[in-house]
């Protein structure tokens, strides 16, 4: 039996008087108790479909044709066409939250910060199943316990901002499921979460589905998540369905070229050495960039690393005042005794979950923050510079050697400057050449990153996310830096655009001999880009190894947990959800004794396992055995 049948659904939006079809005749169904994944890039119309099912379309949008038939398993003979229900009528409101639950991407903003989560869950319950308060409280606490709150009685009175991202999404699940809906719509439920937390939340969704028998409509762009969760898959592109069918067919025998391309465009762990990602739409061809003049003396053999970081440490002191009480001062060590080298011409990957200190580390190297202690040496072959001692004019003179590419291509470009001014600014600041030379240089940069020179007079808002990131890359290249720090450069981009940008970075690195510090939380992306990878947890580098070694023979429990939590777009390698530690992988309590920091015992040290493979453990611990 199908809970939901969508027939020839058309949805139009009217913006500035122009009517535009966003969903153009979509058909699919959701069988009872099954999971259907709706896959597509941003702007494909997948979220709009979910809004239409809930009757929550924005004011500018309207269903212009087709039907959404909902058949409640409790009353299988009655069929409701949601498309014809009045938007704020009683019928649709009874379905919403009562028979169809929904969870969203951003668990922080989805919950009201000024109401306790218990209050918000109870509201949903009382709306659809009115009952006396004590009874409701019991039911809610049972539900909170079911979704993983250790102390549901206390959790009832928590506010959302007191919870971590994973717990917030669990609270959302409790709220969506408290009325035992027949259908749960999950709109990118784990996109904002770290991989280990993602694995836990997905696991919880599977368990709850088995218990309550609801159907799930899973909206996502992540094929790895789809392979692990979905019974049926619907692939949507520009408001039209490209392919749909059982997951088996979709993954083993993809028919439509779009789906094949989508599978090829996402980086994965099994890529061969030198294999390239195939972008969905090939970017416009660009001439190879001129190689950078080789550094003056190339001493063969022993060459000092380009950047050497030693025992870097940064603590933040937060004065956390409980508003009505005495303030307590707590110290957070964001970067703790971090040492590593970056060799000339290599790409060092830096991986870790949110809050592990990787962004702080990049800011320390950029001298945007000042470390408490430690040393950073920069050796460009001519002279060796102690980065932390640079001041004033000397620091300004050094800046061109070290540039940065940022995560968010929207906020990292000034909306009031044309592309020409954006790219020229670094040249002007460092007084490189006269006006004509600068213009010529900017034009060459546009070629280098594959953008048309005619775009120079435009403003950033007229570009897509991928194009903006290209501008960001061109700006970082403008001063011919020795080292570029890429801080999550593709995490805000769609899969297809991500492939283009990653390929561009790879090409530029090969052509110009660039050196990258590549920061990302996405292991597959780092795997594609990096030569060596450093894994960071709780402010420390827990493991550092050449790429291949790290992925085939990880030693540290944190690295292993990370690797195990990444969902593969492959039906034969489903995730073992249960492996993930309850508190997330960075919870040191679940690490084996040999890796656990011990406040009384010896401090942890980096053990050399040979071939450049370092792991943080107790000195003298037999790591191979522990692992």
């Amino acid at each position: 039996m199908n809970i939901l049948e969508i027939n020839d659904l058309k949805i139009g939006f009217t913006v500035h008087g122009f009517a535009r079809d966003v969903v153009k005749g979509v058909d699919f169904r959701i069988p009872a108790g099954k999971t259907v994944a709706l896959v597509g890039e941003s702007g494909s119309g997948k979220s709009v479909i979910s809004q239409a099912i809930m009757g929550l379309l924005p004011r500018a949008g309207a269903i212009t044709g087709g039907s959404i038939l909902f058949r409640d398993p409790e009353t299988p003979d009655a069929v409701t066409d949601i498309a014809t229900l009045p938007a704020e009528g009683k019928e649709i409101r009874d379905l919403r939250g009562g028979r169809i639950g929904m969870i969203f991407q951003e668990p922080m903003s989805s919950l009201s910060p000024v109401h306790t989560i218990g209050n918000q869950i109870e509201e949903a319950l009382q709306l659809h199943r009115p009952m006396p308060k004590p009874e409701a409280r019991v039911l809610i606490e049972t539900m909170l316990k079911r979704v993983g709150f250790k102390d549901p009685t206390r959790a009832y009175d928590f506010y959302s901002f007191e919870l971590s991202g994973g717990l917030r999404q669990r609270a959302m699940l409790a709220m969506a499921l408290i009325c035992q809906p027949a259908l749960l719509i999950a709109d990118e439920p784990t996109t904002a979460l770290d991989v280990t937390i993602q694995a836990q939340v997905l696991d919880l969704m599977c368990d709850l589905q088995a218990e309550m028998g609801m159907a799930i409509l899973l909206i996502t762009h992540d094929l790895g998540v789809v392979a692990n969760m979905a019974d049926e898959v619907v692939v949507i592109y520009h408001g039209e369905i490209m392919e749909s069918g059982p997951a088996e067919d979709i993954f083993r025998r993809p028919q439509h070229p779009y789906l094949k391309a989508l599978l090829k465009a996402s980086p994965h762990f099994d890529m061969q050495e030198g294999e390239r990602l195939v972008a969905l739409r090939e970017a416009r061809p660009r001439p190879p960039a001129a190689p950078k003049p080789a550094p003056a003396q190339q001493a063969a053999g022993q060459q000092a690393p380009l950047l050497a970081v030693r025992h870097l440490r940064k603590t933040y002191t937060t004065h956390s005042s409980r508003f009505f009480g005495k303030g307590t001062t707590s110290t957070v060590t964001a970067v703790d005794d971090v040492s590593f080298d970056i060799e000339r011409g290599e790409c060092l990957g830096l991986v870790g979950e949110s809050g592990c200190g990787k962004t702080t580390l990049s800011k320390l190297i950029m001298r945007a923050l000042t470390p408490d202690s430690g040393e950073i040496r920069f050796d460009d072959g001519k002279d060796c510079i102690d980065l932390l001692s640079l001041q004033g004019e000397a620091l300004r003179g050094f800046r061109p050697k070290l540039q940065m590419i940022f995560q968010d291509p929207v906020s990292s470009l000034s909306p009031r400057m044309t592309v020409m001014n954006l790219l020229r600014e670094p040249l002007v600041i460092h007084e490189r050449g006269d006006g004509a030379e600068q213009t010529a240089r900017v034009k060459a940069l546009m070629d280098d990153v594959g953008l048309d020179q005619r775009f120079l007079s435009r403003y950033p808002h007229s570009f897509s996310g991928g194009q903006r990131q290209r501008i960001g890359i061109a700006r970082a290249l403008a001063l011919d830096p020795e080292l570029i720090i890429c801080d999550e450069p593709v995490s805000a981009l769609d899969v297809s655009v991500q492939a283009q940008i990653l390929n561009l970075l790879k090409d530029l690195q090969a052509e110009r001999g660039l050196t990258f510090l590549f920061i990302s939380h996405n292991l597959a992306v780092v795997n594609y880009m990096a030569d060596r990878i450093a894994v960071m947890a709780n402010g420390r580098i827990v493991e550092l190894a050449p790429r291949h070694t790290l992925f085939t023979a990880p030693v540290h429990p944190y690295t292993k947990a990370l690797l195990k939590s990444v969902p593969f777009a492959d039906l034969d390698r489903k995730l073992d959800f249960k492996l993930a530690a309850p508190g997330g992988a960075s919870d040191t309590r679940h690490w084996p004794a040999g890796f656990k920091p011990d406040p009384d015992g010896e401090p942890l040290a980096h053990l050399d396992l040979g071939a450049g493979h370092l792991v943080l453990a107790k000195p003298g611990a037999n790591v191979r055995e522990l692992a």
Binding site: M54, L56, E88, R93, D94, L95, R96, G97, G98, G101, M102, F104, E106, S109, S110, L111, S112, P113, V114, H115, T116, E123, A124, L127, H128, F158, Y159, F161, E162, L163, S164, L167, M172, M175, T318, H319, S320, S321, R322, F323, F324, G325, G327
Partner: protein, 333 residues
């Protein structure tokens, strides 16, 4: 916990008020001369003879021969003892001149604030939920008129039409026979009868501003994900609106209390002159013109005290209402 916080906040008020008092004292003493010289000059201009010995005596009596710092000291310590000083112009203790007017000022301000809220709240909500509808445009237009028309002009228009349509004179706050009487039920009733006109006039600008602010705040909140969540639960739109976005928009409303008190009190002064209200406004303006130092200074101090109290009230209310402020800084669980 809450008591401790309030205590801390009151401690913070002390330096604030101290700095304000220094500023007020300096600004009033900035112009050349003092009240007596102004008086003598005025009398001479009118061809009268000033009794210079009396002026000298008064100057000495009120310490005008002493350095400003000392005068400041006496003034402030006097204030602390509840002695607001002596008005030269009225030749009465400031307290006796101001007392009744302060009460009336507070009544007018209180009702103006209530009026502002009662009118602004529903209109702001309507405008936000019916954005770009005719109702929104119409109310926005009326609100803009309220913002753009100066108070005193509005007061004059009201005076004129009230006279033509109702044949009443709306000047003043009480019937003349109660003017110097102690507060009584009859007097209070008389005040209420006269109150509505100044309240509407003084409140007009504030109301319009409040409507715009509430509309903008609410529009922001209506875009937020948690409102969609609330509707996805099946809440009827009105209830969802009241419980979530409105609650969030309240924050700004409350933090506005601190601003609204002084702006109403000071914005009301010119209106008070036009409508000849017996509030403190006209008194203050006259006192400032004639450099009646203690009257003006003490009165301004009273205003700043009101402001600081207003901010205190809004801070405490915010802390009670918003758990993010109350629980700020505690670790995630």
């Amino acid at each position: 916990m809450l008591l401790k916080y309030i205590f801390k906040r009151i401690l913070v008020m002390i330096p604030t008020l101290f700095v304000t008092s220094v500023l007020i004292f300096t600004v009033i003493n900035l112009p050349e001369g003092d009240y007596f010289e102004t008086m003598v000059a005025e009398m001479q201009a009118q061809g009268e003879k000033a009794d210079m010995s009396r002026v000298e005596f008064l100057k000495k009596e009120y310490g005008f021969d002493k350095p400003p710092a000392e005068r400041y000291f006496w003034w402030v310590t006097g204030l602390l003892r509840g002695d607001m000083g002596y008005s030269f112009e009225y030749q009465l203790p400031v307290r006796d001149i101001v007392g009744d007017r302060l009460l009336l000022t507070m009544i007018v301000s209180f009702f103006t604030i209530i009026f502002t809220w009662i009118v602004a709240f529903p209109i702001g909500i309507y405008s936000a939920t019916h954005q770009y509808s005719w109702g929104d445009y119409g109310l926005t237009f009326v609100g803009m008129l309220g913002l753009a028309i100066p108070h005193f002009l509005l007061a004059l228009i009201f005076l004129y039409f009230a006279n033509i349509w109702f044949g009443t004179s709306i000047g003043g706050l009480v019937d003349p026979q109660y003017l110097n009487q102690p507060m009584s039920w009859a007097k209070f009733k008389s005040v209420l009868e006269h109150l509505w006109i100044p309240v509407i006039i003084i409140g007009a600008g504030g109301t319009a501003g409040m409507i715009r602010k509430l509309r903008a705040n609410l529009l922001d909140e209506l875009q937020k994900q948690y409102y969609v969540t609330a509707r996805a639960k099946g809440l009827p739109p009105g209830k969802a609106l009241r419980k979530y976005p409105l609650r969030m928009a309240l924050n700004f409303f409350i933090s506005d209390i601190g601003d609204i008190l002084p702006s109403i009190v000071s914005g009301a002064e010119i209106v008070a002159i036009v409508l000849s209200l017996q509030t403190t406004g006209p008194l203050l303006i006259r006192a400032l013109q004639s450099q009646d130092m203690y009257l003006a200074g003490s009165f301004l101090m009273f205003l700043s005290f009101l402001t600081v109290i207003g901010v205190l009230i809004s801070d405490i209310a915010l802390a009670i209402l918003d758990p993010r402020i109350r629980l700020q800084g505690t670790a995630t669980k």
